[in-house]
C-alpha cells in the first residue's frame, strides 16, 4: 500500500517534464553541429543549450527520479508508511527551488559553463547554488531512506530487508559518499570564485574533487535500472530471481568499487601521476564484475520464466518470454544496449587506450548509449510499471501497445544516434563543438554521419513525447480497470533467504571498507594540492561583460 503517492508523483513529474524539454534542446544541438543550417545557431546559444541539456538530463532527471522511485520502494517493499514525511516534502521543495534557480540562470546566458563546469571558467554563483540546493534535497532523501530501513529492521529483527529497499539504501549510501567531492569543489572553490571573493583558483584540485563524484554519480543513476532488473523484471516475465544472494553481493560490489575510481576520468590530466591513475584503473576493472554477474543472474531468471512458459532447448526459452509486457521488453532492449555501452566503457577504462578516445565523440556516444539507453529505458519501464499503483488505474491493451512502441522507438533511435558518433569519435571528432568546418577536406566526410545521428536524435524526441503522452493518458483514464493493483508485486527468489548474514543486510562493514578504499585511492591525490600548492589560475567570469 503506497500512501505517499503524491510525493512520488511530484518527484517523477518534475523529472520527466524537465527530461522532455531537455530532449528538444538535444535535437537542436545536433542540428547545429550538422552540415544542415539550423536557426539561432551561434556559439553563445549553443553552449547555453548544452549546459541546460546536460544539467537537466544529468542532474535533474536523474536525482528527482531516484528520489521519487526510492520513496515508492520504501513504502511498497517495506509495506510501511514513509517516516519523516515532512522532511521528504521539504527536500522536494529544496530540489524544486534549486532546479528553477539553476535553469533560469543558464537560460539567461549567465552560466554557459557546461554541466561539468570546469573552473577557471566560472558562471553566475546562482547556477552552482541551484545545484547545491538540489543535492541538499537529495541528502534529505538519503536520511529518510536510512531511517525507513533502520525502523523496519528494528520492527523485524533478523529478517532480510527486501532486496529492492536494500539496494535503494545502498544507492543512498553511495550518493552520500560521492556528493562529498562536488560539494567540496562547489562550496570551497567555485562558489567563492563565482562571487568574486577569490581571484584565483587551484584548477588541479577542482578537477580532482569533481572526479571523486564523477564515477559513482553514474552508478547512482544506474541503480534504479538494476533494481528493476532484479526485483521487477523476473516477476513481469513470470519467473523467479535466480539468486537473491548474488543480487545483494552485486549491489555491494557496485557500492564499493564505483567510488574509488574517479581518476579514470583524469587519465589524460597532467596534475595526477601514474601511480594513482594505475591504482584506480585496477579498481575500475573490478567494478565491471558486478555488471557481468548481473548479466548472468538476470538471464537465468528469464530462463526460468521462459522454460516455465514452455520453452525448450538451449535458446528456445527466449522466444517464450512475455515480450508483450513493457518491463520484459525494456529489459531485453536494455541488455542489448548494455553490450555496446558497456563495451565502450571497457575501452574507456583500459588505461592507455583512453588516449584513443578521450574527449572525442566516442565519449559522448558512450554515455548517451549506456545512460540514455540502458538506464533511461528502464526508467520508462519502471514508470509504466508503478503508474497504475500511483494513479489507481491500469493500462488497457491499446495503452500497452503504445508503451511498447515508445520503448522500441527509444532503443532504435539511441542506436541510430550513437553508433555513428562512436565511429566519428574513433576518427578524431572532438567534443563540445558548436560549428564544424565541413569544407575542410580532413573532416568533410563526417557530414553524412552527423546527419544520421541527427535522425536518431529526432526519433528519440518523438519517443520522449510519446512517453509523456502515455503517462498523461494513464492519469486521464476515466474507467479504472478491473484489477487495480494496490501494491507492487516484487519478484520472488528461487530460494528465499531464510537466515540473512548481517553483512548482507546492512552497511556498517561496507562503510568501513569504503573508508579504507577512499583513503587509499584519494588521500594523496587531493592532499598533494595542499602540500604543494600550485600557482593559482585566474578566474574567468563568463557572466560578466567587459
Amino acid at each position: 500500500m503506497v500512501r505517499n503517492r503524491n510525493l512520488v508523483l511530484a518527484h517523477l513529474w518534475l523529472a520527466f517534464a524537465v527530461f522532455a524539454l531537455a530532449a528538444i534542446l538535444g535535437v537542436w544541438q545536433m542540428w547545429v553541429r550538422s552540415p544542415l543550417h539550423a536557426p539561432y545557431a551561434d556559439p553563445e546559444n549553443y553552449f547555453r543549450s548544452v549546459t541546460a541539456h546536460g544539467t537537466a538530463m544529468a542532474y535533474v532527471l536523474t536525482t528527482l527520479f531516484v528520489m521519487g522511485y526510492g520513496y515508492f520502494v520504501a513504502e511498497s517493499s517495506l509495506e510501511r508508511r514513509l517516516p519523516w514525511q515532512g522532511a521528504a516534502w521539504a527536500g522536494y521543495m529544496l530540489a524544486v527551488v534549486g532546479t528553477v534557480m539553476a535553469v533560469v540562470t543558464v537560460l539567461s546566458g549567465n552560466a554557459s559553463v557546461l554541466y561539468t563546469f570546469y573552473p577557471p571558467l566560472t558562471g553566475s554563483p546562482f547556477y552552482y547554488i541551484g545545484l547545491v540546493l538540489v543535492v541538499a534535497g537529495s541528502w534529505v532523501w538519503c536520511a529518510v531512506m536510512f531511517v525507513a530501513m533502520a525502523q523496519w529492521k528494528r520492527e523485524n529483527p533478523g529478517v532480510a530487508v527486501p532486496l529492492a529497499m536494500f539496494a535503494t539504501v545502498a544507492n543512498a549510501v553511495m550518493w552520500a559518499w560521492t556528493t562529498v567531492g562536488v560539494a567540496a569543489e562547489l562550496l570551497f572553490q567555485v562558489i567563492p570564485a563565482a562571487f568574486g571573493w577569490t581571484e584565483t583558483i587551484d584548477v588541479g584540485m577542482s578537477r580532482t574533487l569533481f572526479s571523486w563524484t564523477l564515477h559513482a554519480i553514474v552508478y547512482f543513476w544506474l541503480f534504479p535500472a538494476y533494481i528493476a532488473f532484479y526485483t521487477m523484471a523476473p516477476a513481469a516475465a513470470g519467473g523467479r530471481l535466480y539468486s537473491e544472494t548474488m543480487g545483494r553481493l552485486s549491489f555491494i560490489l557496485l557500492l564499493l568499487y564505483s567510488l574509488p575510481v574517479g581518476l579514470h576520468h583524469l587519465f589524460m590530466d597532467p596534475e595526477q601521476s601514474t601511480g594513482f591513475k594505475f591504482l584506480q584503473s585496477f579498481l575500475t576493472a573490478l567494478v565491471t564484475v558486478p555488471t557481468l554477474l548481473t548479466v548472468f543472474t538476470i538471464s537465468a531468471s528469464f530462463e526460468i520464466a521462459g522454460r516455465l512458459n514452455g520453452g525448450t532447448g538451449l535458446f528456445g526459452w527466449i522466444a517464450k518470454l512475455p515480450w508483450h509486457r513493457p518491463m520484459v521488453l525494456a529489459t531485453g532492449l536494455a541488455f542489448f544496449m548494455l553490450w555496446f555501452g558497456g563495451g565502450g566503457g571497457l575501452i574507456n577504462m583500459s588505461y592507455g587506450m583512453n588516449a584513443m578516445v578521450h574527449n572525442t565523440s566516442w565519449v559522448t556516444a558512450h554515455f548517451h548509449l549506456i545512460f540514455g539507453g540502458t538506464v533511461v529505458i528502464m526508467y520508462f519501464a519502471i514508470a509504466y510499471e508503478i503508474w497504475p499503483v500511483l494513479v489507481g488505474r491500469s493500462p488497457d491493451a491499446v495503452n500497452l501497445a503504445y508503451q511498447r512502441r515508445q520503448l522500441w522507438l527509444w532503443a532504435v533511435g539511441m542506436m541510430v544516434m550513437t553508433l555513428p558518433w562512436h565511429w566519428l569519435g574513433l576518427n578524431g571528432q572532438w567534443r563540445r563543438v558548436a560549428h564544424f568546418d565541413y569544407s575542410d577536406p580532413l573532416i568533410a566526410w563526417w557530414g553524412p554521419w552527423v546527419v544520421v545521428s541527427l535522425i536518431g536524435g529526432v526519433m528519440l524526441l518523438a519517443s520522449a513525447f510519446l512517453f509523456v503522452w502515455n503517462l498523461l493518458r494513464l492519469h486521464a483514464r476515466r474507467v479504472p480497470a478491473e484489477v487495480v493493483p494496490v501494491g507492487m508485486r516484487y519478484a520472488q527468489p528461487l530460494y528465499p533467504i531464510l537466515r540473512i548474514p548481517a553483512a548482507l543486510n546492512g552497511f556498517g562493514l561496507w562503510n568501513a571498507l569504503l573508508l579504507l578504499l577512499m583513503v587509499a585511492a584519494y588521500a594523496w591525490p587531493i592532499a598533494q594540492f595542499i602540500a604543494y600548492p600550485s600557482p593559482g589560475t585566474i578566474v574567468h567570469h563568463l557572466d560578466r561583460a567587459g
Binding site: 553552449f47 577557471p120 588541479g204 585496477f282 548472468f296 563540445r432 558548436a434
Partner: protein
Amino acid sequence: MAWTEHDVVRSELRWAAAVSGFVVIIFGLTLFAALALHRNPPSNLERIDPKTLHLTGEFTEPNLGTRVETNGRVTVRMVATQFAFVPQCIVVPEAQEVTLRMSSADVIHGILVTGTNVNTMVVPGYVSQVHTVFQRGGDLLMPCHEFCGFGHSQMYARVRVVPRDQFRPDAQGRVSCGP
C-alpha cells in the same frame, strides 16, 4: 537444473570465475601495452605559473614550436590560449621520437592529434608532456578538445608530419611550417 540452493551458488561462482578471467585478460593486455609497448596516459607532473607563462622561462615565444635540442631530441613546445594554439602549425619528423610540451595561459584546454594516440589535457598550472612517434607522414589535425569558451569550436592547430630527409632544422635547431 540447480536442484538445490547449493547448485545455484556453485553456478554463480563458476560464472564469477569466468568473468574474473575475462577481466584479467583485458587488464593484463592493458598492462602489457603500458609496460612493454610504451602506451601510457601522459602523467608527467610538473607545475608552472600560468600568469607568467609568456614572460619568462620555457614557454616564451622564441622557444615555441619544434626544436631539435643539442642532444638530438625533438621537442615541440606550444601554448594553449583562448582561442588559439601558439604556434598554430608545427612540423614534426616521421618515425622519430618527439616530445610535446604544452601549457595553458588561461583556462582548461586539451589536444588530440587525429589518427594517433596523442591526447592530453592542457591544464593551467601544469606542463603537459607527451612522448610519441608519428608513424605516417601527412597533415594531421590537432583540435582543442575541451570546452574553453565560446571560441572553442574554432581552436585547432595543424601537425605536418614530414619524412626525415625533409625535416631540416635551421641554425638554432628550429623547424617551422613556413608559408
